[in-house]
Protein backbone atom coordinates (compact mmCIF):
# COMPACT_ATOMS: atom_id res chain seq x y z
CA UNK A 1 0.00 0.00 0.00
CA UNK A 2 1.42 3.41 -0.93
CA UNK A 3 1.98 6.13 1.66
CA UNK A 4 -0.83 8.21 0.20
CA UNK A 5 -3.28 5.33 0.41
CA UNK A 6 -2.48 4.91 4.10
CA UNK A 7 -3.79 8.41 4.72
CA UNK A 8 -6.79 8.39 2.39
CA UNK A 9 -8.17 4.97 3.32
CA UNK A 10 -9.09 6.27 6.78
CA UNK A 11 -11.22 9.01 5.26
CA UNK A 12 -13.61 6.86 3.22
CA UNK A 13 -12.90 3.14 2.86
CA UNK A 14 -11.95 2.54 6.52
CA UNK A 15 -13.75 5.54 7.97
CA UNK A 16 -13.81 4.77 11.71
CA UNK A 17 -17.23 6.26 12.37
CA UNK A 18 -19.35 5.47 9.33
CA UNK A 19 -17.76 2.23 8.06
CA UNK A 20 -15.92 0.53 10.93
CA UNK A 21 -18.47 1.93 13.44
CA UNK A 22 -15.89 2.33 16.21
CA UNK A 23 -15.71 4.94 18.98
CA UNK A 24 -19.47 5.50 19.10
CA UNK A 25 -19.53 6.78 22.67
CA UNK A 26 -17.55 10.01 22.10
CA UNK A 27 -19.18 10.34 18.67
CA UNK A 28 -22.70 10.43 20.09
CA UNK A 29 -21.86 12.41 23.19
CA UNK A 30 -19.57 15.21 22.04
CA UNK A 31 -21.06 16.20 18.69
CA UNK A 32 -23.62 18.62 20.15
CA UNK A 33 -22.00 21.41 18.17
CA UNK A 34 -19.54 21.62 15.28
CA UNK A 35 -16.75 23.04 17.41
CA UNK A 36 -17.11 20.34 20.08
CA UNK A 37 -17.05 17.59 17.44
CA UNK A 38 -14.00 19.11 15.78
CA UNK A 39 -12.13 19.48 19.08
CA UNK A 40 -12.90 15.92 20.13
CA UNK A 41 -11.73 14.66 16.72
CA UNK A 42 -8.47 16.59 16.95
CA UNK A 43 -7.84 15.39 20.52
CA UNK A 44 -8.31 11.79 19.37
CA UNK A 45 -6.09 12.37 16.31
CA UNK A 46 -3.28 13.63 18.57
CA UNK A 47 -3.42 10.56 20.82
CA UNK A 48 -3.88 8.17 17.89
CA UNK A 49 -0.80 9.33 15.97
CA UNK A 50 1.48 9.35 19.01
CA UNK A 51 0.27 6.03 20.39
CA UNK A 52 0.53 4.38 16.96
CA UNK A 53 4.15 5.53 16.69
CA UNK A 54 5.08 4.49 20.23
CA UNK A 55 3.41 1.11 19.89
CA UNK A 56 5.07 0.32 16.57
CA UNK A 57 8.40 0.96 18.33
CA UNK A 58 7.74 -1.22 21.38
CA UNK A 59 5.76 -4.00 19.65
CA UNK A 60 8.83 -6.11 18.85
CA UNK A 61 10.13 -6.22 22.42
CA UNK A 62 6.73 -6.62 24.08
CA UNK A 63 5.97 -10.19 25.22
CA UNK A 64 2.70 -11.52 23.81
CA UNK A 65 0.91 -12.01 27.10
CA UNK A 66 1.36 -8.46 28.35
CA UNK A 67 0.85 -6.53 25.11
CA UNK A 68 -2.61 -5.20 26.06
CA UNK A 69 -1.49 -3.75 29.43
CA UNK A 70 1.56 -2.19 27.77
CA UNK A 71 -0.54 -0.60 25.01
CA UNK A 72 -3.09 0.71 27.50
CA UNK A 73 -0.38 2.30 29.65
CA UNK A 74 1.15 3.93 26.56
CA UNK A 75 -2.24 5.25 25.40
CA UNK A 76 -3.20 6.43 28.89
CA UNK A 77 0.08 8.32 29.13
CA UNK A 78 -0.56 10.26 25.92
CA UNK A 79 -4.15 10.99 26.98
CA UNK A 80 -2.97 12.36 30.32
CA UNK A 81 -0.34 14.47 28.55
CA UNK A 82 -3.06 15.83 26.27
CA UNK A 83 -5.34 16.47 29.24
CA UNK A 84 -2.69 18.46 31.10
CA UNK A 85 -1.81 20.46 27.98
CA UNK A 86 -5.46 21.30 27.26
CA UNK A 87 -6.11 22.23 30.87
CA UNK A 88 -3.13 24.58 30.75
CA UNK A 89 -3.51 26.18 27.32
CA UNK A 90 -7.11 25.68 26.09
CA UNK A 91 -9.23 25.66 29.26
CA UNK A 92 -12.40 26.58 27.33
CA UNK A 93 -12.33 23.49 25.11
CA UNK A 94 -11.19 21.37 28.05
CA UNK A 95 -14.26 22.28 30.08
CA UNK A 96 -16.58 21.81 27.07
CA UNK A 97 -15.39 18.25 26.40
CA UNK A 98 -15.21 17.39 30.09
CA UNK A 99 -15.09 13.72 30.93
CA UNK A 100 -14.64 12.61 27.30
CA UNK A 101 -10.98 13.62 27.23
CA UNK A 102 -9.89 11.03 29.84
CA UNK A 103 -12.23 8.53 28.17
CA UNK A 104 -10.12 8.66 24.97
CA UNK A 105 -8.06 5.95 26.72
CA UNK A 106 -10.82 3.41 26.16
CA UNK A 107 -11.73 4.63 22.66
CA UNK A 108 -11.64 1.41 20.66
CA UNK A 109 -10.34 3.19 17.54
CA UNK A 110 -7.00 3.75 19.26
CA UNK A 111 -6.55 0.26 20.70
CA UNK A 112 -7.98 -1.11 17.45
CA UNK A 113 -5.34 0.61 15.31
CA UNK A 114 -2.62 -0.48 17.76
CA UNK A 115 -3.68 -4.12 17.49
CA UNK A 116 -4.57 -4.20 13.80
CA UNK A 117 -1.87 -2.00 12.34
CA UNK A 118 0.78 -0.35 14.51
CA UNK A 119 2.16 -3.53 16.07
CA UNK A 120 2.90 -5.00 12.61
CA UNK A 121 4.24 -1.96 10.75
CA UNK A 122 7.13 0.51 11.02
CA UNK A 123 6.98 3.90 12.71
CA UNK A 124 6.37 6.01 9.60
CA UNK A 125 3.58 3.82 8.23
CA UNK A 126 1.99 3.69 11.69
CA UNK A 127 2.11 7.47 11.99
CA UNK A 128 0.50 7.86 8.54
CA UNK A 129 -2.17 5.30 9.44
CA UNK A 130 -2.85 7.25 12.64
CA UNK A 131 -3.14 10.50 10.68
CA UNK A 132 -5.48 8.91 8.12
CA UNK A 133 -7.83 7.24 10.57
CA UNK A 134 -7.63 10.27 12.87
CA UNK A 135 -8.59 12.64 10.06
CA UNK A 136 -11.49 10.35 9.17
CA UNK A 137 -12.65 10.62 12.78
CA UNK A 138 -12.21 14.43 12.78
CA UNK A 139 -14.19 14.76 9.53
CA UNK A 140 -17.04 12.48 10.71
CA UNK A 141 -17.38 14.18 14.08
CA UNK A 142 -17.29 17.63 12.54
CA UNK A 143 -19.97 16.75 9.98
CA UNK A 144 -22.24 15.21 12.65
CA UNK A 145 -21.60 18.26 14.85
CA UNK A 146 -22.46 20.68 12.02
CA UNK A 147 -25.73 18.87 11.20
CA UNK A 148 -26.78 18.65 14.86
CA UNK A 149 -25.88 22.28 15.50
CA UNK A 150 -27.82 23.50 12.45
CA UNK A 151 -30.94 21.53 13.39
CA UNK A 152 -30.64 21.84 17.16
CA UNK A 153 -29.42 25.38 17.72
CA UNK A 154 -29.84 27.05 14.33
CA UNK A 155 -26.17 27.95 14.09
CA UNK A 156 -22.90 26.86 12.47
CA UNK A 157 -19.67 27.01 14.51
CA UNK A 158 -21.47 29.29 16.95
CA UNK A 159 -22.67 31.70 14.25
CA UNK A 160 -26.46 31.90 14.71
CA UNK A 161 -28.71 32.27 11.67
CA UNK A 162 -32.10 31.98 13.36
CA UNK A 163 -33.48 33.65 16.46
CA UNK A 164 -34.61 31.53 19.37
CA UNK A 165 -34.14 27.81 19.82
CA UNK A 166 -33.77 25.09 17.18
CA UNK A 167 -35.17 21.57 17.40
CA UNK A 168 -33.93 20.71 20.89
CA UNK A 169 -34.12 16.95 20.32
CA UNK A 170 -31.12 17.16 18.00
CA UNK A 171 -28.91 18.49 20.79
CA UNK A 172 -29.93 15.60 23.04
CA UNK A 173 -29.16 11.89 22.73
CA UNK A 174 -32.04 10.90 20.38
CA UNK A 175 -30.87 13.47 17.82
CA UNK A 176 -27.35 12.06 18.00
CA UNK A 177 -28.61 8.60 17.02
CA UNK A 178 -30.86 9.97 14.28
CA UNK A 179 -28.17 12.11 12.65
CA UNK A 180 -25.56 9.36 12.95
CA UNK A 181 -27.91 6.79 11.41
CA UNK A 182 -28.90 8.93 8.44
CA UNK A 183 -25.33 10.07 7.77
CA UNK A 184 -24.18 6.46 7.90
CA UNK A 185 -26.78 5.49 5.28
CA UNK A 186 -25.86 8.36 2.97
CA UNK A 187 -22.14 7.79 3.42
CA UNK A 188 -22.31 4.10 2.61
CA UNK A 189 -24.68 4.59 -0.32
CA UNK A 190 -22.78 7.36 -2.13
CA UNK A 191 -19.15 7.26 -1.02
CA UNK A 192 -18.18 3.69 -0.23
CA UNK A 193 -17.56 1.59 -3.33
CA UNK A 194 -18.57 -1.99 -2.74
Amino acid sequence: MSKMQLITKGLVKDNPTFVLILGMCPTLATTTSAINGLSMGLATLFVLVLSNMAISLVAKVTPDKVHIPVYIVVIATFVTVLQLLMQAYTPGIYSALGVFIPLIVVNCIILGRAEAFACKHNVIDSALDGIGVGLGFVASLTVIGIVREILGSGSVFGWKFITGDGILAFIMAPGAFLVLGYLMVLFNKYLVKK
Binding site: K60, P63, K65, V74, T77, L85, V99, L168
Partner: protein, 186 residues
Protein backbone atom coordinates in the same frame (compact mmCIF):
# COMPACT_ATOMS: atom_id res chain seq x y z
CA UNK B 1 6.57 -10.19 15.58
CA UNK B 2 5.99 -10.10 19.35
CA UNK B 3 8.53 -11.74 21.63
CA UNK B 4 7.73 -15.02 23.38
CA UNK B 5 6.49 -14.47 26.93
CA UNK B 6 8.33 -15.61 30.01
CA UNK B 7 8.15 -14.29 33.53
CA UNK B 8 11.36 -12.27 33.32
CA UNK B 9 10.67 -10.40 30.09
CA UNK B 10 7.04 -9.73 31.07
CA UNK B 11 8.09 -8.19 34.37
CA UNK B 12 10.94 -6.21 32.78
CA UNK B 13 8.84 -4.82 29.93
CA UNK B 14 5.91 -3.88 32.15
CA UNK B 15 8.17 -2.21 34.71
CA UNK B 16 10.12 -0.36 32.01
CA UNK B 17 6.93 0.83 30.29
CA UNK B 18 5.48 2.16 33.54
CA UNK B 19 8.76 3.82 34.48
CA UNK B 20 9.12 5.62 31.15
CA UNK B 21 5.46 6.66 31.11
CA UNK B 22 5.64 7.93 34.67
CA UNK B 23 8.75 9.94 33.79
CA UNK B 24 7.02 11.50 30.76
CA UNK B 25 3.96 12.37 32.85
CA UNK B 26 6.15 13.85 35.57
CA UNK B 27 7.88 16.13 33.06
CA UNK B 28 4.63 17.28 31.42
CA UNK B 29 3.07 17.89 34.81
CA UNK B 30 6.04 19.96 35.92
CA UNK B 31 5.77 22.10 32.79
CA UNK B 32 1.98 22.55 32.88
CA UNK B 33 1.40 22.87 36.64
CA UNK B 34 2.10 26.61 36.69
CA UNK B 35 -0.07 27.52 33.64
CA UNK B 36 -2.93 25.35 34.99
CA UNK B 37 -2.81 27.01 38.40
CA UNK B 38 -2.64 30.42 36.72
CA UNK B 39 -5.61 29.64 34.45
CA UNK B 40 -7.71 28.43 37.37
CA UNK B 41 -6.74 31.46 39.46
CA UNK B 42 -7.65 33.76 36.56
CA UNK B 43 -11.04 32.10 36.12
CA UNK B 44 -11.70 32.52 39.83
CA UNK B 45 -10.46 36.12 39.85
CA UNK B 46 -12.56 37.04 36.82
CA UNK B 47 -15.62 35.44 38.43
CA UNK B 48 -15.12 37.37 41.66
CA UNK B 49 -14.63 40.63 39.76
CA UNK B 50 -17.79 39.95 37.74
CA UNK B 51 -20.03 39.41 40.75
CA UNK B 52 -18.85 42.32 42.89
CA UNK B 53 -19.52 46.03 42.27
CA UNK B 54 -16.77 47.85 40.40
CA UNK B 55 -13.89 49.42 42.26
CA UNK B 56 -14.02 47.31 45.42
CA UNK B 57 -11.03 45.78 47.09
CA UNK B 58 -11.23 42.00 47.30
CA UNK B 59 -10.07 40.22 50.45
CA UNK B 60 -8.38 36.84 50.78
CA UNK B 61 -10.56 33.73 50.86
CA UNK B 62 -12.47 33.17 54.10
CA UNK B 63 -13.87 29.70 54.89
CA UNK B 64 -17.63 29.46 55.42
CA UNK B 65 -20.39 26.83 55.33
CA UNK B 66 -22.65 27.22 52.28
CA UNK B 67 -25.72 24.97 52.16
CA UNK B 68 -24.11 22.71 54.79
CA UNK B 69 -20.91 22.23 52.74
CA UNK B 70 -17.48 23.72 53.32
CA UNK B 71 -16.86 26.60 50.96
CA UNK B 72 -15.31 30.05 50.94
CA UNK B 73 -16.18 33.67 50.37
CA UNK B 74 -14.42 36.92 49.55
CA UNK B 75 -15.24 40.31 51.04
CA UNK B 76 -15.44 43.30 48.73
CA UNK B 77 -14.65 46.48 50.67
CA UNK B 78 -14.87 50.11 49.60
CA UNK B 79 -13.34 52.83 51.83
CA UNK B 80 -12.81 50.26 54.57
CA UNK B 81 -16.45 49.14 54.80
CA UNK B 82 -17.65 45.82 53.34
CA UNK B 83 -20.10 46.52 50.50
CA UNK B 84 -20.54 43.04 49.01
CA UNK B 85 -19.58 39.41 49.40
CA UNK B 86 -18.60 36.92 46.70
CA UNK B 87 -19.60 33.42 47.81
CA UNK B 88 -18.54 30.17 46.16
CA UNK B 89 -21.56 27.87 46.12
CA UNK B 90 -21.84 24.29 44.81
CA UNK B 91 -25.01 22.27 44.15
CA UNK B 92 -25.87 19.20 42.09
CA UNK B 93 -27.01 20.05 38.58
CA UNK B 94 -28.27 17.70 35.89
CA UNK B 95 -24.86 16.31 34.94
CA UNK B 96 -22.87 16.74 38.16
CA UNK B 97 -21.54 19.51 40.37
CA UNK B 98 -22.51 23.06 39.47
CA UNK B 99 -20.26 25.66 41.09
CA UNK B 100 -21.17 29.33 41.08
CA UNK B 101 -19.65 32.53 42.34
CA UNK B 102 -22.50 34.58 43.76
CA UNK B 103 -22.17 38.26 44.65
CA UNK B 104 -24.43 39.48 47.43
CA UNK B 105 -24.44 43.11 48.49
CA UNK B 106 -24.34 44.10 52.16
CA UNK B 107 -27.99 45.21 51.98
CA UNK B 108 -29.05 41.67 51.01
CA UNK B 109 -29.51 41.83 47.24
CA UNK B 110 -27.94 39.50 44.71
CA UNK B 111 -25.47 41.65 42.78
CA UNK B 112 -24.54 39.18 40.04
CA UNK B 113 -23.70 35.50 39.48
CA UNK B 114 -21.06 33.68 37.48
CA UNK B 115 -20.50 29.98 36.72
CA UNK B 116 -17.11 28.65 37.83
CA UNK B 117 -17.55 25.07 36.60
CA UNK B 118 -20.38 22.85 35.44
CA UNK B 119 -21.09 19.59 33.62
CA UNK B 120 -24.53 20.41 32.19
CA UNK B 121 -25.79 19.21 28.80
CA UNK B 122 -24.33 21.31 25.97
CA UNK B 123 -27.08 23.26 24.21
CA UNK B 124 -29.52 22.81 27.10
CA UNK B 125 -28.40 23.18 30.71
CA UNK B 126 -25.06 24.63 29.62
CA UNK B 127 -27.00 27.71 28.54
CA UNK B 128 -26.93 28.74 32.21
CA UNK B 129 -23.56 30.30 31.35
CA UNK B 130 -24.60 32.11 28.19
CA UNK B 131 -28.38 32.56 27.75
CA UNK B 132 -28.93 36.27 28.42
CA UNK B 133 -32.59 35.71 29.31
CA UNK B 134 -31.47 33.51 32.19
CA UNK B 135 -28.25 35.17 33.35
CA UNK B 136 -29.50 38.77 33.18
CA UNK B 137 -32.25 38.20 35.73
CA UNK B 138 -29.66 37.59 38.48
CA UNK B 139 -28.19 41.07 38.15
CA UNK B 140 -29.73 42.95 41.06
CA UNK B 141 -32.17 40.15 41.97
CA UNK B 142 -34.03 41.71 44.91
CA UNK B 143 -34.59 38.99 47.49
CA UNK B 144 -36.82 41.34 49.45
CA UNK B 145 -39.58 41.37 46.83
CA UNK B 146 -38.85 38.25 44.74
CA UNK B 147 -38.83 34.60 45.77
CA UNK B 148 -35.69 32.56 45.08
CA UNK B 149 -37.13 29.53 43.29
CA UNK B 150 -38.12 28.79 39.69
CA UNK B 151 -41.58 29.84 38.43
CA UNK B 152 -42.68 26.19 38.14
CA UNK B 153 -42.16 25.91 41.93
CA UNK B 154 -43.98 29.15 42.66
CA UNK B 155 -40.97 31.48 42.67
CA UNK B 156 -39.81 34.36 40.50
CA UNK B 157 -36.90 32.81 38.59
CA UNK B 158 -37.33 32.27 34.85
CA UNK B 159 -36.02 28.77 34.11
CA UNK B 160 -34.02 27.90 30.97
CA UNK B 161 -36.22 26.25 28.33
CA UNK B 162 -36.17 22.45 28.80
CA UNK B 163 -33.60 22.68 31.60
CA UNK B 164 -35.62 22.93 34.78
CA UNK B 165 -33.21 20.75 36.78
CA UNK B 166 -30.25 22.96 35.91
CA UNK B 167 -32.29 26.08 36.66
CA UNK B 168 -33.35 24.66 40.04
CA UNK B 169 -29.74 23.77 40.90
CA UNK B 170 -28.60 27.26 39.89
CA UNK B 171 -31.33 28.87 41.95
CA UNK B 172 -30.50 26.69 44.96
CA UNK B 173 -26.83 27.64 44.68
CA UNK B 174 -27.77 31.34 44.69
CA UNK B 175 -30.13 30.77 47.60
CA UNK B 176 -27.49 28.89 49.64
CA UNK B 177 -24.99 31.69 49.00
CA UNK B 178 -27.55 34.30 49.98
CA UNK B 179 -28.40 32.43 53.20
CA UNK B 180 -24.68 32.15 53.98
CA UNK B 181 -24.24 35.92 53.68
CA UNK B 182 -27.34 36.47 55.83
CA UNK B 183 -25.72 34.20 58.41
CA UNK B 184 -22.57 36.35 58.34
CA UNK B 185 -24.47 39.55 59.01
CA UNK B 186 -25.80 38.22 62.29
Amino acid sequence: MAAKSNLTNMAVVLAATCLICAAILGCVYAVTAAPIAETNANIQKAAIAAVLPEGVEVSEAVPVKVGGEDSEYYIGTKDGAPVAYAVKSTTSGFGGALTLMVGVTADGKVYNTSVLSHTETPGLGAKCTSDPAFTAQWKGFDTGTKILSVKKDGGDVDAITASTITSRAYTLAVKNAYEAVKGLAK
